[in-house]
Amino acid sequence: MNAQRLRGLMRKEFLQILRDPSAIAIAFVMPVFLLFLFGYGVSLDAKRVPIAVVVHQPTAETSALIGGLQESPYFQPRVYASIRGAEQAVMTRRANGVVWLRSDFSRRLLQGNTASIGVLVDGVDANNARILEGYLQGVWQNWLRQRALHAGTPLIVPVHDEYRIWFNPALRSRDYLVPGLIAVIMTLIGALLTALVVAREWEHGTMEALMATPVGMGEILLGKLIPYFFMGMGGMLLSVALAVWLFAVPLVGSFWVLLFCSALFLLVALGMGLLISSVARNQFVAGQIAIIVTFLPAFILSGFIFDIQSMPAAVRVITHAVAARYFVSILQTVFLAGDVWPILLWNSLALGLMAALFLGLTLHRSHKRLD
């Protein structure tokens, strides 16, 4: 390892970064774009869900229930006079569910009998349907409680539930999506940056010229790793800043822990990129491989959106090979729960091992030869 050669290579790389906007676009524009797309576009919360309310005979009771629905942030009720009209609305996707108050609803209630509410939920989007079901129950339980309070006859329920929601009390899905998203973005930046720039050297024939100089393979690799490490960290900091200040995701844990773990993960991602570039010597192929073997698994198998516990056993095993899985876990912990050391340590250890594996493999596979 020779300091002068390494310095020369790094200076060259920085000059290229400054003059070729594509690296800057990958490191800084892409994170912003992806964060905006996912931060604003993807939400797993059900809000303002249109539902049809069928009221055969409007009374004080029914309008109180409709009022309850209207006040809830989750629903947009619309009143229909007949069940047929409401069903039609579900069929044409103008409503996601139906609440059916039959003509004898108020009468039975007033008589002290059990009144039934018909509920019909559009189950095409299974996830949404379940949420909708739960919220609907919440609405009329609330309504019942208030009504009982009003009548001075407290509702007697043998078991009383006392909810406490930890870490994300508002249950905002964005708060856990955005940190997970940072892991996906970093995977893409790290792997794409190195895979593309090394492939570019092969394409332009500069690699051949480099190899015929006294420079060593380790120096060539480090000369790539160091500049793009700083680029990647820049992209990382930008993403964190956006998460905290734009998307108002709380950062409960310590910033330095976040920085350290990110650096570790970036090494893994850059290592994957370098390993890809030792196989693919043209930018198009390198880009395709980087997206298929790093970005897609990070997206689907990291637990960023889809819960790993509910995957089939075989897929759960595969997720252990996805570096983003460990980083998603770290990020969600640091952002929402704080510095929970057992989680951070084990996941960091896994990242460290993977970084060593990928970088070691790259060094092992790279020879200063053209074949």
């Binding site: 020369g8 200076r11 070729d20 015929a212 060593g216 030869r369 074949d371």
Partner: protein, 575 residues
């Protein structure tokens, strides 16, 4: 005597391409003489680049050993690479970096101290005349300047052995001359140089020549030794009619003639023996053999198909009063503030071979693209085959064939599939289509390659296929953009025979080239420099412009350099 700086001992190298194993080099023995310039020549695929990479330790031999400066490339590649200078075919420059930054990088890689780097860089910048361009990005330099910069990067430390892989390809004659000045200077400093080249005149400047063919060493010797067996077999033939093209055809078919090619003053003939019958009206004059003769003699002339005389030769003469088929008046093209083509005027007549010549950046390609309707002109008149190119480009395109520099074939389609695609693209149908496809396969001898993918074809065959595709719709005009750049000398000769035959059959051929000896094949030349027409006329007329006391009989290259330098000097004086 010093030990040989480069030794190949029974070296063999294979590459696997898919399932097939391709032999690149076979049982090669080689020894370079210290302090000499050795030229490496051979047709495409002869193994020149493989040999260079093996010598640089970038590839390892399958069998045999290679010793560079006394070290084995298998065991001590790093030491070898620390000492030699190597310039790959693709320059190896960082296009986003300036001239100075590229030099700085290589100074760091070579471990030069800041002081030593500054001195050496100043020296190199002076030597390459790149001094004024220090802050220019390498990507914006012309081909010749890039080559010089690439060479300078390889020379930051004066290496005992310098390997140059086709350093003069794609370089205009002036830059080529400068590069040779640098290489000569290195020899005087005791550097051993091995360079591959596609130019015969460069081979003549080397102390020794290595001729490779299909991975085997055909001959390694001095120029004199190459020429010796050809004494008394080379002639220059002239005839009163002055139609060199037809004279060449006639001579090529004559028994005892091995090769006939058009040169400045007539047709040059290489005979198999000393005695060949001269036809009446021909004047035969003995000539000194050149390396090109030796090359043809050793490798044979590429075979040509049925050389049946054109159907109606009388009608197809490129008369000076034939109908005008391309008319260009006051043609201009501006890119922003930069005027690439500055009010040019010229006419092309039917059945002519019309050559567009110029240094890199002279406006050849821009002019060419406007003529083909690929680029709109900024102002001026442009009529091709009677159609105004500024209005009805689509109409005119149906009447032209175009072969671009990169051939524009579909690499993963077979020969047949490429032909079928282009015939469909030109809208050929039914019997006519079948006839044309059959004609293409037969005329361009593609029957052995019909199922082979275009990517897998040797360059020469690929070029035939590209030509066939461009001619499927039987266009009266054919545009060829640098068709011979990067093609080996044999394939180039064969290509010109085809172009001649086309012109004889009445097709007008418009061609750009930077091989100046090829200009002799043209009926009419236009010489461009900095966007302006510098000279035009027949090759004789253009050469005559450069005639003076010191050069009573200038070659096309000398004329070219003379005219351009005069023009540039005038330009400098004017500004």
């Amino acid at each position: 005597m010093a030990a040989s700086p480069l030794r190949f001992i029974q070296v063999g190298k294979h590459f696997s391409r898919g399932a097939a194993r391709v032999r690149a080099l076979d049982a090669l023995d080689l020894n370079l003489t210290a302090g000499s310039i050795t030229g490496l020549l051979g047709p495409d695929g002869a193994g020149k680049t493989t040999l260079m990479r093996l010598a640089a330790g970038l590839l390892l031999p399958d069998v045999g050993t290679i010793q560079v400066l006394g070290a084995d490339t298998r065991a001590r590649a790093a030491k070898i690479q620390a000492e030699i200078g190597y310039m790959p075919q693709q320059f190896g420059l960082y296009e986003d970096l300036t001239v100075q930054e590229n030099l700085d990088l290589h100074a760091d890689l070579q471990g030069l101290s800041a002081e030593a780097a500054r001195t050496r860089q100043r020296e190199l910048l002076r030597m390459t005349a790149l001094g004024p361009f220090g802050t220019r990005r390498a990507g914006t330099l012309s081909g010749g300047m890039k080559q010089k910069l690439g060479l300078a990067c390889a020379l930051l430390r004066v290496p005992p052995l310098l390997l140059l892989d086709e350093p003069t390809v794609g370089v205009d004659p002036i830059a080529r001359r400068e590069l040779w000045g640098i290489i000569q200077g290195l020899k005087d400093q005791g550097v051993t140089v091995l360079m591959s080249t596609a130019y015969f005149d460069e081979a003549e400047r080397c102390d020794e020549i290595i001729l490779l063919h299909q991975g085997k060493l055909l001959k390694k010797d001095t120029l004199a030794a190459f020429r010796l067996p050809l004494q008394g077999r080379c002639f220059r033939v002239t005839e009163d009619t002055g139609n060199k093209r037809r004279l060449r055809e006639s001579l090529q078919r004559r028994p005892g003639v091995q090769d006939a090619r058009i040169v400045a003053a007539g047709v040059r003939v290489l005979c198999q023996g000393p005695s060949v019958e001269a036809a009446p009206g021909e004047r035969w004059q003995a000539e000194t053999p050149t390396f090109e003769d030796a090359f043809v003699d050793l490798l044979g002339t590429a075979e040509m198909p049925d050389e049946a005389a054109p159907a109606a030769p009388a009608a197809a003469t490129a008369d000076q009063d034939a109908e005008i088929i391309i008319e260009v008046r006051d043609l201009r093209k501006r890119f922003g503030n930069f005027e690439a083509v500055k009010g040019n005027t010229f006419m092309v007549r039917k059945g002519q071979i019309f050559g567009l010549l110029g240094a890199n950046g002279a406006g050849k390609t821009t002019t060419f693209r406007m003529l083909c309707g690929l680029l709109p002109a900024s102002s001026g008149t442009l009529r091709v085959a009677g159609v105004d190119m500024r209005r009805a480009t689509a109409q005119a395109r149906a009447r032209i064939g175009y072969v671009s520099q990169k051939f524009s074939l579909y690499g993963n389609l077979s020969c047949d599939q490429n032909l079928a695609f282009f015939s469909a693209a030109y809208g050929l149908r039914g019997t006519w289509r079948r006839q044309r496809l059959q004609w293409a396969v037969q005329k361009f001898q593609l029957s052995d390659y019909r199922e082979v993918n275009a990517d897998q074809l040797p360059l020469g065959i690929k070029q035939r296929l590209a030509l066939a595709c461009a001619l499927l719709h039987a266009p009266p005009i054919l545009f060829l953009d640098e068709p011979t750049s990067g093609v080996d000398p044999l394939a180039r000769r064969e290509f010109w025979q085809r172009v001649n035959a086309l012109a004889e059959s009445g097709v007008t051929v418009m061609i750009t080239t930077h091989f100046l000896e090829e200009a002799e094949y043209c009926d009419h030349l236009v010489l461009l420099s900095q966007g302006e027409v510098l000279a035009q006329g027949s090759p004789q007329q253009v050469r005559a412009l450069a005639q003076d006391k010191t050069h009573p009989e200038p070659s096309m290259e000398e004329a070219f350099i003379h005219l351009i330098q005069t023009h540039e000097n005038q330009g400098r004086r004017a500004s």
